[in-house]
């Protein structure tokens, strides 16, 4: 049996440094702990009263969004673990600290939607929510050029497994590359571009209807958390790209894999009547350029052109060809 010093030098048992505490990732951790909110403290009574006066089409329009959000938040809560393992393997204690708040926040978002569905709509069990799920294979590009994928339910688990395998291998470059791929898909592309219009659709819709103030409050509260998540991911990736510029190609490849999800508005984003969908489509360009600026990489101009191309539009419920 070795001595304590032989098992692990005492100095290495401490992680805090002045550099860590002055860094922007630690600042995000501090902010997350300061800005704590609890969906159990929200008042759902007014939303429940509003729900009774909404029409069936209004209810269905908003439910197709909220059920996807609840499922998505649960999925990412469940799939975040590989990033924590990778941060540990890369010796980034500030990343581990921040990611601990990140996982808690994803769980809190899941809880918000579960509470809202239960207390406002009166649904809680999985089958009750599944009845409102818009089928993605009903969203098609009539030209057949673009496919709409499932980045949350197919891509994140796939890249999560790759990241965990890399962590188990102990190969630092493999961990870094897989981390860039996972975080690009999750933080930069899904959270940072594809989902952003949906937040604004819910905020705009509830303001237009002058209804569901707690749903709006929940979405605004979640957005505050998302800003930290997105910019953690892009900053961590930027640091790795600065270390090895070859990682930039991994970012573009992951985005390209799910390019089809950005070039048109998707089924669950098209169900609320009276919204200017072109506005949300245009915003995706700003979000994508923001992500590239944060990552320190060059945006793909063909993707920007496709997002803005009015001739590319999806239809729902019609088979391609």
């Amino acid at each position: 049996m070795g001595t304590f010093a032989e098992i692990r030098p005492v100095e290495s048992r401490f992680r805090f440094t002045r550099e860590l505490m002055a860094g922007s990732i630690y600042r995000k951790y501090e902010k997350a702990t300061r800005k704590f909110w609890d969906p159990k403290e929200f008042d759902y009574a007014e939303d429940a009263r509003d729900w009774k006066r909404l029409t069936d089409s209004q209810r269905e329009g908003i439910l197709t969004i909220t059920v996807r959000f609840e499922a998505g938040e649960q999925e990412v809560t469940d799939e975040l673990l590989p990033t924590i393992a990778a941060a540990h393997a890369l010796g980034r204690f500030d990343w581990v600290m921040f990611l601990s708040t990140f996982m808690l926040e994803e769980a809190r978002h899941s809880e918000f939607f579960a509470l809202w569905h239960d207390r406002v709509v009166g649904i809680l069990e999985p089958a009750e929510k599944a009845a409102h799920w818009p089928l993605r294979d009903h969203t098609v590009d009539p030209s057949g050029r673009f496919q709409v994928g499932e980045p949350v339910y197919e891509g994140i688990p796939k890249y999560g497994k790759k990241l965990m395998d890399a962590v188990h291998s102990g190969d630092e470059a493999a961990i870094e590359g897989a981390f860039v791929q996972f975080v690009t898909l999750y933080n930069a592309w899904v959270e940072g571009v594809l989902t952003m219009p949906s937040y604004e659709i819910v905020v705009d819709t509830t303001e237009m209807w002058d209804a569901l103030p707690t749903l709006r409050l929940g979405f605004r509260s979640i957005l505050g958390d998302e800003g930290r998540h997105i910019t953690f991911g892009t900053e961590a990736c930027r640091l790795l790209i600065e270390k090895n510029p070859a990682y930039e190609a991994l970012v573009h490849a992951v985005v390209d894999e799910y390019r089809g999800n950005a070039v048109g508005m998707l089924e669950y984003q098209r169900n609320v009547p009276g919204l200017d969908l072109d506005k949300y489509q245009r915003q995706k360009v700003r979000h994508y350029r923001n992500r590239c600026r944060e990552l320190g990489i060059t945006p793909d101009q063909t993707l920007i052109d496709q997002i803005l191309d009015p001739t590319i539009d999806f239809v729902v419920g019609v088979e391609a060809g």
């Binding site: 995000k28 937040y199 604004e200 905020v203 705009d204 957005l223 505050g224 998302e226 800003g227 930290r228 997105i230 910019t231 892009t234 900053e235 506005k279 245009r282 915003q283 360009v285 700003r286 350029r289 923001n290 600026r293 944060e294 920007i304 803005l308």
Partner: protein, 56 residues
């Protein structure tokens, strides 16, 4: 001093402020009034450029 540039398609707006708080307020007001949209505080701060002496 920090500068933030709006990256909405076709927009050339930029703003320079001495404090993070003022920069975030100005950028959020621009995005809300000009684009009917929301820009997140953390995103504004992450995209802002620190200006050196003489560059403003």
């Amino acid at each position: 001093m920090k500068r933030w540039e709006c990256l909405e398609a076709g927009c050339v707006f930029s703003v320079t402020k001495a404090s993070d708080e003022d920069l975030v307020a100005a950028a959020q007001a621009h995005v809300r009034e000009s684009h009917g949209s929301i820009e997140l505080e953390e995103v504004i701060l992450a995209g802002a450029k620190e200006l050196g002496d003489g560059s403003h």
